[in-house]
Each structure stands twice: as C-alpha cells, then as structure tokens.
C-alpha cells in the first residue's frame, strides 16, 4: 500500500523514517513533501505533524525528528515484529523488547501514536532493506503498515536512491512483468532474486558478457564481482569514463540524463516526470546508442533459445 508524495504533503500527520537519513541523502524530502509544507488538511504544516526516526545511530535527520528511536544494529526485524504484535494487543515480554535496544514502553508509545494518527506514512531506507534480514525486513515493514489499516490509514514507501531507479522497476514491470533480476534466456521472463540478481550472477561467474548502462559497478560491487567483469567482455554507456569503463572492452560516452539528454524519469512515489535538459550534448543519448546496437544485432540471424533433445537448456 502506498501513495504519492502529494498525498503525504496534504494528509500525513504521522511520519516515520526507518533506516534512512533524508537530511543528508534526500535533502528536500522534508521541506518539499513530508514535514514542513503546509497541506490541505494540515494548515499549520510542521506543527500538525509528528515525525519519528528509527535508526541505529543519531544522524543529522534526528534533529528534525520529534522522537528518535535508536534500534540495536541488526534488530530491525525483531522491532518490526514486536510492533506488529503490539498493534494486535498481544503480550510482549519486556526482555524481548530490550533485545532491540528499546524499552517496551517506547514501543507501546509508538504503536499508540501510529494507531491515533489520521494518516500515517512509513518511509524505509537502505538501513532497513540492505542490512541483516534484507527483503524480510522490507516485507515486515510493509506488513506492519498494511495491518495498521485496521485502525487508520497507513502507507509505506521505500526511500529510493539513484535518480531513475524507480523508472527501471516500473519499465521492467510493465514490459516483462517483474521489477528486476529477470532472465530472458528461455525466451520468456523468469524472476528469481538471488539467482538472477547481478551480484550473485557475477560472483558465481554465470555471465559471459555485460552491458552496463548508467551505473558504475566497478566502484561499488564486491571484489569477486568486479574480477568477473574484468574477465569477461564488458560494455559501458556513461557520460564519463568510469571505473567500470577502465576494465571494460567497449565504452560509449553518452549525454547526461536530465542535463543534456531528454526523456522521462520516475520519482520514488512512481510519478513520471518529463526531463527538461538545459544543455546540448555533443554525445549521443543512451537511448540512441542502444537503438544502434539493437539495429546491428537485428542484422544477424535471430537468436533462439537453445534446445537439446527436446529439452530447453539455458
């Protein structure tokens, strides 16, 4: 269950940020969408809203929060599960609550506030989705928000990072029916994170060529993954010569998205926005380079999924 940031601005009187540091990573999130803006149903803006920050350390964002809850590292899933139990009025032992680094009273107070809210939002960042528990944490956060709807309106939204990563999810969803990690080697889409996700593929050495568009895995990925990118032919499309370009066979310089390349980008709440580039690039856009590669590929005999003894191999 989610909503647009416009709805948050106009309606949300209770906002939780979990495992994120918007003050430094999404600097205008507070001022443009969530906290300080006056909304249709929140005429006094910040005064009408309550903000809770849950994180393992007191970041810059804690200054903007009404309540800061410091969860013990790696105990997010436990904390979410206790909150879900408390939402349903189940008994929770004080020692179980203490495991999370917080007291039962603090957690009960949070649950009371969540239930009393008119419109609550839970924004969760990479501190939740990329640490111990990973997608189980995200699932628990989404379930908590869903279950709160028995009492009030409550939504959850991931704090997406890199520009148009939301667009990638949306485009893959409406073309291939899954959001990421999709294998087309049998001619139809198969989805299995952990098997077809990039880091896993590269670390296991399953791929024999890579084309990287608007990313720099050579600077961010674990070493065995980078080693595999070096070992196999890699193609890069980027406005700059990146770390990945340096270990790749082919590099294309392309126009910078939104600065000199036009197109569409999705905001983290899945609202598409048309880009208005201010500069004219001397380079081709990613779109144009990909189109040319596709045209070159189409001149070759069509690829068919491999078939051996009546059984498909991939």
């Amino acid at each position: 269950m989610s909503c647009t940031l416009g709805e948050v601005k106009n309606r949300a009187d209770f906002i939780i940020y979990w495992g994120g540091n918007p003050a430094e990573c999404h600097p205008r999130h507070f001022t443009r969408y969530t906290l300080t803006q006056k909304g249709k149903f929140l005429p006094r803006g910040r005064k009408d809203r309550t903000m809770v920050l849950v994180d393992i350390r007191e970041t810059m964002s804690a200054k903007a929060a009404d309540i800061f809850l410091q969860v013990r590292p790696g105990k997010d899933f436990e904390m979410l599960t206790i909150l879900r139990a408390l939402v349903k009025n189940q008994k929770v032992r004080a020692e179980a609550a203490a495991e999370t680094g917080l007291t039962l009273e603090q957690l009960q107070d949070l649950v009371n506030r969540m239930k009393a809210a008119k419109f609550g939002v839970l924004f969760f960042g990479m501190g939740l989705s990329m640490t111990r528990g990973k997608h189980m944490n995200s699932a628990a956060a989404l379930t908590l928000a869903a279950e709160l709807n028995a009492f009030t309106k409550f939504v959850a939204m991931p704090m997406r990072g890199h520009g148009n990563v939301t667009g990638a999810d949306v485009v893959m969803r409406y073309t291939l029916s899954y959001p990421f990690g999709i294998n087309m080697s049998r001619g139809y889409p198969r989805f299995n994170p952990g098997e077809y996700s990039t880091v896993d593929l590269l670390v296991r050495g399953d791929t024999d060529a890579t084309i990287v568009i608007g990313a720099d895995p050579g600077a961010t990925m674990p070493k065995p993954a980078i080693e595999h990118l070096k070992r196999t032919p890699t193609i890069v499309l980027d406005p700059k010569v990146t770390h990945t370009s340096k270990l790749s066979r082919v590099h294309f310089t392309t126009a910078a998205t939104g600065i000199s390349a036009p197109g569409t980008a999705y905001r983290m709440d899945e609202v598409p926005l048309p880009l208005r580039p201010a500069l004219k690039s001397p380079y081709l856009t990613d779109e144009e380079v990909l189109k040319r590669i596709i045209t070159a590929l189409q001149k070759k005999p069509a690829w068919q999924p491999a078939v051996k003894g009546g059984e498909q191999i991939a």
Partner: protein, 126 residues
C-alpha cells in the same frame, strides 16, 4: 567547440530553464531553475547541495572521445559493431544498471535483453 578558453567563460547569453528536473536522488525535484550558457550550467535555484553539484558537474564539453574500444579511441559506429558482436556471441549476457538513465533508454535495454536472451537487472537488486 572544445577549445577550452577558461578565463573568459564564453559569455553567450544565459538561457533560463524553469521547472527543470533533477535526477540525482529519488526525490526527482521538478521545480529547479537553471541558468546555463552553451557549455555549462552556471546557476541553480531551489536545488539542494547534492542537486547543485550534480547540475554543475556535468557540462556540454567534449571531455572524452565518443567511444573507446580496448582503451583506444573509436567512433560510435565501430563501437556499436564490437558491442553487438560481444552481446551476440555471449551465451548469458547481462544488461545491468539503468538507474541513471531515462525510461526511454530503459525500454531499449529491455528490448536488447530480450533480443540476446540475457538477464536484465537494476540497482534494485543490490
């Protein structure tokens, strides 16, 4: 065009782009005002610190060759041929990234993955 004469930053008339969209982070703020000349963005209004450095960091200068093959300068056409060959010959090619690009390019990337029977994945899986 690439003659880098910096002392007099080619004072072409500055043009103003209103409601420009910043694609640095997931907020995708669409209320930015940009003042730019032919070569670079010189002023940003309403952008945050991250947005401002994002806009000022990218210019329309020709700092790199169109393409590189094995580290050597090449034309787009040459690089396209080599890239197509690599992807065509691969049994399990991977199309990766897609964050810092437009939805239009993402559509092409999906088509490419389908055409070569590969895996397509984004930053989401990290």
């Amino acid at each position: 065009m690439s003659t880098a004469v910096t002392p007099e930053p080619t004072k072409h008339e500055l043009h103003v782009v209103k409601h420009a969209v910043c694609t640095f982070c997931g907020c995708v703020c669409d209320d930015i005002e940009l003042h730019a000349n032919e070569e670079r963005i010189v002023e940003t209004k309403r952008a945050c610190i991250l947005g401002e450095s994002w806009f000022k960091h990218h210019t329309a200068e020709r700092l790199y060759p169109d393409a590189l093959i094995d580290g050597k300068e090449a034309t787009y056409d040459e690089a396209v041929e080599v890239a197509a060959d690599i992807l065509y010959q691969a049994h399990m090619p991977l199309v990766y990234g897609l964050s810092n690009t437009t939805c239009e390019a993402q559509r092409q990337a999906v088509w490419l993955a389908e055409l070569v029977g590969g895996v397509i994945d984004s930053h989401t899986s990290l």
